[in-house]
Symmetry: C2
Subunit: 229 residues, 2 copies
DNA sequence: CGATGTCTGGCATTCAGTGCCAGAGTAGGG
DNA sequence: CCCTACTCTGGCACTGAATGCCAGACATCG
């Protein structure tokens, strides 16, 4: 066989999604999928590992792609994580044929929901690891884990909106806005005291050491706002 | 039977944890647990639902307690969520006999890890729901979900530290510090623009509408710092 | 052609999980 | 005291996921 992850596998996934949707996840057996696709039951378990993994097969590939992307990314840690999240979002949006019916199944079925949650936890762990390695190595700090979780939360928030209404055209805009808000949130946690950053249209955040002279602080903030304002 | 969730059930859980630890999770069968505890296999499934749920039985009770606590809490939404997180942390710390060996099992076993992750996702969803209901109802906003995820991330960060070293006495202090950082993070997301808040020793965050006059902003920041500094 | 490696299907087995039924114990009502 | 209703329990049988083992199909290389 030329492509292990190609046509054959995807055809099986699509058939499985259809069966799950029509007859219900529990009522659909691996033997049934085998019969419907012409692939033997044994081979299904060999390829996918488990019944759940038939539904999430494409998702696992996406995860590996995203991790490789981050590792190779020349951007700053925060930027590469945000770009990685964008990649994940794209992974869903570009394949509604699978992701949308899967979302419906996931919502109806606690076990599948847990599987989906575990998937996002894997992303979160990967994001934490990437941020931690880029900011000194060792175990991820509290700040790093909070930022990673915020990225995931923002991603999932926008994603769920799209999954509920896949025809909505504003999803990408909302996604980018959400990520910018997370960036603004993350900045004060990572930057050295004294930095001043600003979200472009609504918020300015100033971070400085507690002992800074108030007059000096005021001068800096004023200056930063004038520059960007 | 007087107490359904009392002695008998706990004894079974402890025995199961011991078996899982000694012989491995996969190698331990429900029939084995039944034999070791004197409870029939059938009754184990009736009480716990599944093999995994034997390990997480106590945890499910904790979840319900925490949700009820939040619903009855007279505090502000943020405060009651932070207090709820503290309750969860306490649920782990006060019962190391189960939570510590379970953590080792969870780390070694992907399926159990997923289960643990699903549990924390349930908390996160409950926190989001609570914050959403208190801030206008409807679906949780992006801000609400980010804050809930930050609370969970901070909780988990400190919890994992304790689980790795349960004898460490500084866990509670670190927990409270982490929650204060999350509070500082959450405040600017919820407050009306124009507010000024400060973490007590290191950081001051100013949030204001983009159009604010720089001089006015500088005056406000200076004032806020003088008050607290 | 023979040797090797890989993918596949069939078969048997283990074990989690569920439905069904029968017995033990308990509480309440006559 | 007895009858009834309810609940908890254990035993039994069954489905289905998941795995190990083995044999056949097929391609590759020498």
């Amino acid at each position: 066989m030329v492509e292990r992850n190609g046509g054959g596998t995807r055809a099986v996934v699509l058939a499985a999604v259809r069966l799950f949707t029509e007859a219900g996840y529990d009522a659909t057996t691996m033997a049934g999928i085998a019969e419907a696709t012409g692939v033997s039951r044994r081979s299904l378990f060999r390829r996918f590992g488990s019944k759940e993994d038939v539904l999430f097969a494409e998702h696992d590939e996406l995860f590996e792609t995203v991790v490789r992307y981050m590792e190779a990314s020349p951007e700053s840690p925060t930027d590469s994580v945000l770009a990685a999240a964008r990649l994940v979002f794209q992974g869903y949006v570009r394949d509604p044929e699978i992701t949308v019916p899967r979302y419906r199944l996931v919502r109806a079925h606690p076990r599948l929901r847990d599987r989906e949650v575990a998937m996002t936890a894997r992303y979160q762990a990967a994001f934490s690891r990437h941020l931690a390695e880029a900011t000194g190595g060792g175990r991820p700090s509290l700040e790093v884990e909070v930022v990673a979780s915020a990225v995931i939360a923002a991603h999932n928030h926008v994603l769920r909106g799209w999954l509920r209404d896949p025809d909505d055209e504003g999803a990408w805009r909302r996604f980018d806005e959400a990520m910018e808000r997370v960036r603004a949130l993350a900045a004060p946690l990572f930057e050295e005291p004294g930095e001043v950053t600003s979200d472009r249209d609504r918020i300015v955040v100033a971070v400085y050491p507690g002992g800074t002279d108030p007059a000096e602080l005021a001068r800096r903030v004023t200056e930063a706002v004038r520059e960007r304002g």
